[in-house]
C-alpha cells in the first residue's frame, strides 16, 4: 500500500465510526441494538478495570495457549512422519486429507458428551480444530525442502544433523509459521465457540451472557477486545513469518 492509500483506508475506518456515532446521536440507529462508539469505548474502559472480566480473559487465553501448545507439536510430529515415512504417508494421507476437509465445529456437542462442560473440553476441542491444519502444514513444509539442496550440502560434507539445521529448518520455517498462524486463528475461534455454546467462565461465556441480558455496550466492548486480541496475535505471527521468509521471492 502506498502512503496516501494507507491514509485513505485509515480515514475511511475512522469515518465509519464517526458516521455510526452521528447516526446514533441523531436517532437513526437504535442504541439498544448498536450503541454509539463513544458508549462502547466508555464500557470498554470500565470493563478493563473489572477484575472478574480480566480473569475471564485470562481463562480464555490459557485455554487457547494450552490447546496450541498441544496441537502444534503433535501436528508437526504427525505431519513430519507422514511426509518422511513413505509407508505411513501412503496409508494415512487420504484419510488426513478427508479429515482436514470435514467441518470441525459441528463436533462440539460430542466434546461436551465426552468431557462435560469444562476447561479440558475447551482445550480438547481447540486441539481438534487446530491439529489438522498443522499436520497439513508439516507435510507441506517437508515437501518444500529442495532435494537438490540436500544433495549439495551432502556433497560439501554435511552431517545429517547439519542437513537438518542448515537446510530443513530454514526452508521449512516460513511454511511452519504460516500453518501455526492459521491454526491459531482456528484455535481461537474454536475456544470462543465452546465458551459461547456452554461454559462457566471465559470471555466467550461473558459475551453470551451480556447478549442474553441485552447489555449491549458491554457486549460490543467485549467484541472489540476479542477482535483486537485476535488481530494482534495474527499480525505478530505474520511479522515473524515474513522475517523468517525474507528470502522468498516476492511475487
Amino acid at each position: 500500500m502506498r502512503r496516501h492509500e494507507r491514509l485513505i483506508v485509515a480515514a475511511g475506518g475512522v469515518g465509519l465510526f464517526l458516521l455510526w456515532e452521528v447516526l446514533v446521536r441523531r436517532g437513526a440507529l437504535d442504541p439498544s441494538l448498536a450503541p454509539a462508539p463513544s458508549t462502547i469505548l466508555d464500557a470498554l474502559l470500565k470493563l478493563a478495570r473489572r477484575p472478574e472480566v480480566l480473569a475471564s480473559l485470562g481463562v480464555t487465553a490459557w485455554e487457547v495457549l494450552a490447546a496450541f501448545l498441544i496441537a502444534a507439536p503433535a501436528g508437526l510430529f504427525i505431519g513430519f512422519a507422514l511426509a518422511e515415512v513413505p509407508f505411513l504417508g501412503a496409508l494415512f494421507r487420504p484419510l488426513i486429507n478427508f479429515l482436514f476437509g470435514v467441518p470441525k465445529s459441528i463436533f462440539l456437542p460430542v466434546f461436551i458428551l465426552v468431557f462435560g462442560v469444562s476447561i479440558p473440553q475447551k482445550i480438547a476441542f481447540g486441539v481438534f480444530t487446530t491439529l489438522f491444519v498443522v499436520i497439513m502444514g508439516g507435510i507441506a513444509a517437508v515437501e518444500s525442502v529442495p532435494r537438490e539442496l540436500v544433495t549439495v550440502s551432502r556433497a560439501y560434507g554435511a552431517t545429517p544433523w547439519q542437513v537438518i539445521r542448515e537446510i530443513y529448518l530454514p526452508s521449512m520455517a516460513p511454511i511452519l509459521l504460516e500453518s501455526a498462524r492459521l491454526g491459531m486463528i482456528f484455535n481461537i475461534t474454536a475456544v470462543l465457540l465452546c465458551e459461547i455454546y456452554g461454559a462457566r467462565d471465559g470471555i466467550g461465556y461473558r459475551i453470551a451472557a451480556w447478549g442474553e441480558n441485552l447489555q449491549m455496550p458491554q457486549l460490543y466492548a467485549a467484541l472489540v477486545i476479542v477482535a483486537i486480541a485476535a488481530v494482534f496475535v495474527n499480525e505478530v505471527l505474520r511479522v515473524v513469518e515474513s522475517r523468517l521468509g525474507f528470502w522468498r521471492r516476492v511475487a
Binding site: 537438490e148 544433495t151 556433497a155 560439501y156 560434507g157 547439519q162 525474507f246 528470502w247
Partner: protein
C-alpha cells in the same frame, strides 16, 4: 610427468537392488593427471552424472574403485573435491557471500575467516560488489558464478562440474566458459566437466572422454591439441572441426546401437 590426481579403476555402477536395477556405468577406467581439464560427453542418460557423483563420494560404485590424490573415495571429501551442479542450487536464505562460505561453515570455520575466503572467491569469479545479495536478486549467470565460487572456496584439487552452463543462454555460457578458463589457469585445478555441447567440450578441455549409450563405457579418449589460451577464432579453425567431427561420429554410433 605430473602425478595422477584422479584414478578410476574398473568402475561399474548399477542402480537399485542387487542385480535388478539399471546398469548405468560399465567398466570405466580413467586416469586424470593433476591440472588437466577433462570434458566428458555422451548421449543423454549414459551415466555422466553418475560418474561424477561417484567421484564426489555421493554414492559408492557397485564395483571398482575411485581414488583421489591417493586416497580411496567412499564418502564426500569436500576439501579435495568441489562439486558444481547444473542448477546453481544456492541456499535461497543466504546471501552470495554466505552461500560461498557455506562449505566452510559446515566445517565450523569461524565466521570472519570463512567470509574473508568467500569474498576472495567472489572476486575471483567476477562478483565483487554482489556479496550481500540474495540469490533471487541475482541473474542466472551470476548465480552460477556464485556456485563456482562455492566449489572453489575450500581450494579443492579437483572440480567436478555437471553441465554447469546448461541452463544459461548461449552468450552467458560463452562468457562463463572464458571465465572458467581464466580461473582454471589461475588456480590449476583438475577439472571433470560434463557437457552436452561438443563446442564447449573442445573449446574448454585438454581432453574429451566420450561415453557410449547406457551402460556407459569409454568409447573414445580425445586429446585436444589446440594451443592455449583458447580464442573464439579457434572455434572456426579446421582442427576444431576435425576434433568435433570425431567425437560426433562416436556419439552418433552410440545412439544408433
Amino acid at each position: 610427468m605430473t602425478k595422477t590426481l584422479v584414478s578410476i579403476h574398473g568402475v561399474s555402477h548399477r542402480f537399485g537392488a542387487d542385480g535388478a536395477g539399471v546398469l548405468a556405468l560399465d567398466g570405466i577406467d580413467l586416469e586424470v593427471p593433476d591440472g588437466q581439464f577433462v570434458a566428458i560427453v555422451g548421449p543423454s542418460g549414459c551415466g555422466k552424472s553418475t560418474l561424477l557423483s561417484l567421484v564426489a563420494g555421493l554414492r559408492r560404485p557397485s564395483s571398482g574403485t575411485v581414488f583421489c590424490d591417493g586416497e580411496r573415495i567412499t564418502a564426500p571429501m569436500p576439501r579435495k573435491v568441489g562439486m558444481i551442479f547444473q542448477e546453481a542450487n544456492l541456499l535461497p536464505w543466504l546471501t552470495a557471500v554466505d552461500n560461498v562460505a557455506f562449505p566452510l561453515k559446515l566445517r565450523r570455520v569461524s565466521k570472519l575467516e570463512r567470509r574473508a575466503a568467500a569474498r576472495d572467491m567472489l572476486a575471483l569469479t567476477g562478483l565483487a560488489g554482489f556479496e550481500e545479495k540474495l540469490p533471487h536478486q541475482l541473474s542466472g549467470g551470476m548465480k552460477q558464478r556464485v556456485s563456482i565460487a562455492r566449489g572453489l572456496v575450500q581450494d579443492p584439487a579437483v572440480l567436478l562440474m555437471d553441465e554447469p552452463f546448461a541452463s544459461l543462454d548461449e552468450q552467458t555460457r560463452m562468457l562463463l566458459g572464458d571465465e572458467l578458463l581464466r580461473i582454471w589457469s589461475e588456480t590449476r585445478k583438475t577439472v571433470l566437466f560434463v557437457t552436452h555441447s561438443l563446442n564447449e567440450a573442445v573449446y574448454l578441455a585438454d581432453r574429451v572422454i566420450v561415453l557410449s549409450a547406457r551402460p556407459g563405457r569409454i568409447v573414445d579418449d580425445v586429446a585436444v591439441d589446440l594451443p592455449r589460451p583458447r580464442t573464439f577464432a579457434m572455434t572456426s579453425s579446421e582442427r576444431f572441426g576435425v576434433l568435433k567431427e570425431r567425437i560426433w561420429q562416436h556419439i552418433r554410433q552410440a545412439e544408433r546401437r
